[in-house]
Symmetry: C2
DNA sequence: ATTGTTGTCCATCATTGGGTGGAGACTGGG
DNA sequence: CCCAGTCTCCACCCAATGATGGACAACAAT
């Protein structure tokens, strides 16, 4: 071998649905000394299959995936392989997903705008058993920590609000009285630290509690 | 040469701020017969410089860029080189940007989730002087066509609404009476085909009239 | 100049929305 | 068992919102 004395390479699985991005990651990683891409997956189900097949040291995973979300994939894999290490890689997304991913056991969270050096450094850091959260993400996490969890009902109402429903419509939809809707709104306004439904809607979108995509297709 | 009788390759400039994605595009394109990446740029200003330097046949460009937006880049380049051909490549973004990009002279609009084949096919199509708009995009464009343009003042008000301001606050901010704010709201509600401010806010975000990012940082 | 159009502005009125207090159901610990 | 805590539900009150109608100025077109 030309390489004098290297350790075993870090075996990486890349999970990402965007072809271009996946290609980019693989191309970047495969020229790096000590890192080896052992598998690729374009959706959640495939990700789990590939993981079982290759048992990689590190799984680089996007949160927005077809079939299963990244968070679900992390949860399921950790169920059977608790020592699995994940680096979440996403364009932007809401705070909610970041939070969930870290709770599910992701060790690092990177934005797609990062430099190659950051990516490599993070892979090595996580492989060494440590975590890495960029300052920008940490800041948003901190904000989130202060806020309380929404109850299921409050979540239902918030979802309707984001979809532009009036209190009366929400009441009909959820089969409760309009007064009750107002109560839920009142308490979720408090939890989201906002003062009216419009702010609640934008806050929900910012945090990823509801996604912009879900607005296009009316729900069945 | 090993290749028997090829035409001159299509010379492509890649403009994209996400390192990973840019790498992916370059890696993908450079293995394609008849396509040659002649330059890369990570922001709007660099894009214009690289364009002048290389005069590519096709410019593959993201809309969300530092320094100058993709739309601005397209406009400026077409000012001096009207025959320049652009393929807009973006993750998702709002309808507004799609519309503006096409108006500015982009010939095609692709989502980053596309297959390699689609990308290559589109490059060839555009290089041959034709356009290519995927059905999903075309649909959204069609929706947009029916809607009227907002007046500057209406736009101001809408922006404030998305930022969660009350009518009174908007009135103070814009130095007009609250009644006037209501008038503007009323007419912009009509133009956006919605019935209240919350729907207006989400519609504005969907269409990219206002972006989620701009919500985080309070404007100066 | 005059007509038409469009954008900005304002006032009044009915409706909606948010604030407050409080009742019954259900949970987990002591 | 009983208590504290939480979730869900509802009614009443007043402020904010949206609908309507109309005044005024700027501008284009003939």
């Amino acid at each position: 071998m030309a390489i004098p004395e290297t350790k075993a390479p870090i075996r990486v699985l890349v999970v990402e649905d965007h072809h271009v991005v996946r290609q980019g990651l693989v191309a970047l990683l495969n020229v790096v000394e000590g890192v080896q891409v052992v598998g690729e997956a374009a959706d959640g189900v495939e990700a789990i299959a590939q993981f079982r097949k290759h048992l990689p040291n590190i799984t680089l995973i996007d949160l927005r995936l077809p079939r299963l979300t990244g968070v679900e994939v992390i949860q399921r894999i950790r169920m059977e392989t608790p020592q699995a290490r994940f680096i979440v890689l996403t364009t932007y997304d809401g705070d909610e997903d970041i939070f969930r991913a870290l709770q599910a056991g992701a060790r690092a969270y990177l934005l797609k705008g990062m430099t190659t050096e950051e990516l490599i450094a993070t892979i090595r850091t996580v492989h060494a058993g440590r975590s890495h959260i960029p300052p920008a993400i940490a800041e948003r996490l901190a904000e989130r920590m202060g806020t309380e969890e929404l109850t299921p009902r409050e979540f239902d109402v918030l979802e309707q609000i984001v979809h532009g429903k009036s209190n009366k419509e929400i009441a009909t939809e959820l089969e409760i009285s309009e007064a009750t809707v107002k109560t839920h709104i009142n308490s979720l306004l408090g939890k989201l630290c906002v003062t009216d439904r419009t702010q609640a809607a934008t806050a929900a979108l910012q945090r990823g509690i509801v996604t912009l995509e879900s607005l296009r297709k009316p729900k069945p």
